[in-house]
């Protein structure tokens, strides 16, 4: 067959084809045919593929962010839940789709734009200037490469272009700002009262048949949860500390080894008058300010009140209110030239003008507190606690290791480990997986107690870390499985629940009844007084609407229909299972566009233009997603 090919391949056409093939391989190389063969694809959106590596990266980023946000209370189970994985992959698809679409349609960020973007980021600045070393350090500390960060910034930059492009081109008319202001600044003049569910509880009788019926209908709700009792061993820095002997020699040693710590540092109290100098001021301007500062010095030395001089002249608005007082100044807290001046001045002295990056300061030294060494007796208890803590921590680390291995190597009893540590095995109260007291107040401990090792195999748990300073190991003493409550045991809870439901209904009925009477002409004051109900005026502005209860009532009132002018509207709503609110809406005053300040108008315009601009990007993203063919391989998540 090869021969046939060779014969056919000779001739002009054949070699032309060969020439093209040779060149194509020479340029792109055969390697490109093998790239990506072994990739595992988690999801595809149109022709865009998301591989497992990217997905894993996104998962761990997300995990890290959640842990940062919520601390260690994050439930580890959350991370392995399908819902969480699904959410991460959905977000990844949206973002990838967005980035790829923007790139494909021709959005670009040039090198110059990228450089400007990064150089204008304030966190990379030292003294107001872009600092390359700081930039590289910060990026690397966040676990990214410079290259990765820059390509991420390019993607963000492109999204930002779209956001700004749509935002700035949004069309917002004066007319629509007026209309929005009318609605947003409306005030509703209203009063309200609330019916409390407690008041309806007393005269409710629940019949035996109702209780039985409820019990049969909701068997699942009436059970006693599984509970467990454990023995435990606790190793804690604090306990170790109290058992330690600390003698005088240790304390003395600590005191002498750390002179810095037991010396009260010196400080100065000072006042100042700041004359600001702009960073781009010319020399002539600077001289002018210096001149003014000198005049102030002369007047202050001449006996004029420093406080009133400060009030008239100082650009430091913060200290002006206190007559220029800055309070206590410790070494290392102020600009260098300022501090240098302060620490050589005498009490009551007024300095020559001092130049710092802010401008010129006229300083008066108010008080000197010299540094002094604290006598041992004064700091003895502090030092003793410190020594105790250091020693205990040392011991803790040693013992933790022993405890860990003993608990593991002799899994059938806690006694050997207890002997090693010289502590007693303790016994917990009964607790469930959701709640407990004492040692069981910690979720980690409860989880371990209900884990297979302890609960089913009856072995010692692993070492449980409650926090840095406390370790625990537990083993099961006794266990009570979840069990159905019989009717007698459940009766109390049942009755309470039924009464609550009925009282809540009764409350609503009473409320509706009152509203009906108001609507048909009953007098608000008379009716409420007759029913011993408080009459409360609803605050009219958001600033005065602070109580959560009133905010809920306000939501109901502001959602109510506007009454025809001259008429009063009444209405009511169950605002929580325990409360029914009745309102009397007297009048609605719409906002007056003419009274809106420039700032108010800008605020409204911002809402409107973000709705019509920047927020459109969300819609744009949703639109992409709607038409994209997305496939997620759930089994790979």
């Amino acid at each position: 067959m090869l021969i046939t090919i060779r014969e056919r391949a000779s001739g002009v056409i054949g070699w032309t084809v060969a020439g093209v093939i040779i060149l194509v391989f020479a340029v792109w190389g055969i390697g490109s045919y093998f790239e990506g063969v072994s990739e595992i694809i988690v999801a595809t959106a149109d022709k865009i593929e998301i591989n497992q590596e990217t997905y894993q990266q996104a998962m761990s980023d997300r995990r890290r962010r959640l842990v940062q946000m919520m601390g260690r209370n994050v439930d580890a189970e959350l991370f392995s839940s399908t819902a969480f994985k699904r959410q991460v992959v959905e977000e990844l698809i949206d973002t990838t789709l967005q980035n790829e679409t923007l790139h494909a349609s021709g959005f670009r960020i040039s090198d110059a734009q990228l450089a400007a973007l990064i150089q204008n980021t304030a966190v990379f600045h030292t003294d107001g200037q872009f600092d390359r070393d700081r930039y590289e350090l910060l990026v690397q500390n966040s676990g990214m490469t410079i290259q990765g960060y820059e390509s991420y910034q390019r993607q963000q930059g492109v999204v930002d272009q779209l956001v700004r492009g749509l935002g700035q081109s949004a069309i917002v008319s004066t007319n629509s700002i007026d209309k929005a202001w009318k609605l947003l600044d409306q005030r509703r003049i209203a009063s309200y009262t609330t019916l409390e569910f407690d008041n309806f509880l007393d005269d409710i009788q629940v019949s035996e048949t109702a209780i039985e019926k409820e019990y049969q209908a909701n068997l699942d709700s009436y059970f006693k949860p599984a509970s467990i009792q454990v023995d435990y061993l606790k190793l804690s820095v604090e306990d170790l500390g109290t058992r330690l002997d600390v003698d005088e020699a240790d304390i003395l040693q600590m005191y002498e080894d750390n002179p810095d710590r037991y010396r009260q540092p010196g400080s100065r109290s000072a006042s100042h008058i700041l004359l600001k100098v702009d960073s781009d001021a010319t020399n002539a301007q600077i001289d002018q300010v210096r001149q003014r500062a000198s005049e102030i010095v002369a007047r202050a030395r001449g006996g004029e009140s420093f406080a009133s001089l400060a009030e008239v002249n100082s650009d430091d608005k913060g200290s002006v209110k206190r007559g220029g007082e800055l309070g206590v100044i410790r070494p290392g807290t102020m600009a260098k030239p300022f501090e240098d001046a302060v620490f050589v001045m005498g009490e009551g002295e007024i300095s020559e003008p001092v130049r710092t990056q802010y401008g010129f300061h006229v300083i008066r030294l108010d008080r000197i507190t010299e540094s002094r060494v604290q006598p041992l007796d004064q700091v003895r208890s502090e030092i003793e606690a410190e020594v105790r803590r250091l020693r205990a921590e040392e011991q803790f680390n040693e013992l933790a290791e022993i405890l860990g291995s003993t608990v593991f190597e002799q899994p059938d009893s806690l006694e050997p480990a207890a002997d090693h540590l010289g502590v007693k095995v303790m016994r917990s109260e009964w607790f469930t997986q959701d709640a407990g007291t004492g040692i069981a107040e910690f979720q980690v401990v409860r989880d371990a107690a209900f884990g297979n090792e302890v609960l089913i195999d009856g072995l010692n748990s692993e070492l449980i870390e409650i926090d840095q300073d406390n370790l625990v190991a537990v083993r099961k003493v006794d266990y009570r499985a979840r069990r159905q409550l019989d009717l007698n045991e459940a009766r109390d809870g049942l009755e309470k629940r039924l009464r609550a439901v009925e009282a809540s209904d009764k409350m609503e009925k009473a409320g509706e009844d009152l509203v009906a009477r108001l609507k048909s002409g009953a007098d608000w004051d008379e009716l409420l007084i007759a029913h011993k109900l408080a009459r409360v005026r609803l605050p009219e502005t958001t600033e005065t609407l602070l109580e959560p209860l009133e905010q809920v009532v306000a939501r109901v009132v502001y959602a109510a229909l506007v009454p025809l002018s001259g008429q009063i509207a009444y209405g009511g709503e169950r605002i929580s299972p325990a409360r029914y609110a009745i309102y009397r809406l007297e009048r609605v005053e719409f906002g007056d566009p003419a009274s809106a300040s420039e700032e108010d108008r800008l605020g409204v315009e911002k809402i409107l233009s973000s709705r019509r601009g920047g927020e459109m990007v969300i819609g744009w993203r949703q639109g992409l997603r709607k038409v994209a063919k997305v496939q997620i391989n759930d089994e790979l998540l």
Binding site: I3, G14, L23, G106, Q161, Q168, I171, V562, R611
Partner: protein, 221 residues
């Protein structure tokens, strides 16, 4: 041996070597030269095209950035110039669409609604990106409402092709219906807008107020 020579044509007597090569070249040389030439042209052309479009996109991006900065500082004429450049020279890049949107806004700022409509119509009918088309339609409807052409505004806001802008289209429709004094219909439209609203939107309060207002007036009628 002879059999092999004939078959494979590789083992050739020394004297014949040059001769044979010449004959072979005469027969196939043209083909190879042509092939390599076509290949170079093809590959070079493709790469060249890539470099060209990439550079176009980058310079369009720079002009666009300039336009945004001018607009932000209130330099209407300059912003408008940049936008014209984008439309004239870079219509094929996505910045072209955005430039039209900017022109529409600037025109509205100068009170020139008909120019604004023209720019928006251009994007609505000609954009390659369906989302841009929908967005321009939405804005055109707003401008028609501004200009008092309620019928056309209503027509534009009523469409099935809303892409991801379901909430926005419903809101504009509600605004139009309000202007037409069809309060109950407007309340319904605002309701739909609220339902489709993105959770993080800053417009919930205003939209709710609009809905409540439309409902009140509708009920009192």
């Amino acid at each position: 041996m002879a059999e092999n020579d004939k078959l494979l044509g590789v083992h050739i007597a020394e004297d014949d070597d040059a001769q044979r090569l010449r004959v072979w070249w005469k027969k196939n040389g043209m083909g190879i030269v042509a092939g390599v030439a076509i290949g170079i042209l093809g590959v070079g052309g493709f790469k060249g095209w890539q470099v060209y479009t990439e550079n176009r996109a980058l310079s369009a991006s720079d002009v666009f950035q300039e336009m945004l900065a001018y607009d932000e500082s209130g330099a209407i004429e300059r912003a408008s110039n940049s936008a014209q450049i984008l439309i004239k020279d870079y219509r094929a890049t996505p910045y072209g669409d955005l430039a039209y949107l900017m022109i529409a806004k600037l025109a509205k700022q100068k009170g020139d609604l008909s120019n604004a409509m023209e720019a928006l119509t251009n994007v609505m009918t000609k954009s390659k990106d369906p989302a841009m088309g929908q967005l321009a339609r939405l804005r055109l409807s707003q401008v028609k409402l501004l200009a008092g052409d309620l019928e056309r505004a209503h027509e534009l806001a009523t469409t099935d092709d809303v892409g991801g802008f379901e909430s926005e289209f419903s809101e504009v429709l509600g605004d139009v219906l309000l202007a037409q004094h069809k309060y109950s219909d407007a309340a319904e439209a605002f309701d739909r807008a609220l339902q489709a609203l993105a959770p993080a939107s800053s417009s919930r309060a205003l939209l709710t107020s609009k809905r409540n207002y439309a409902r009140s007036v509708g009920n009192n009628q």
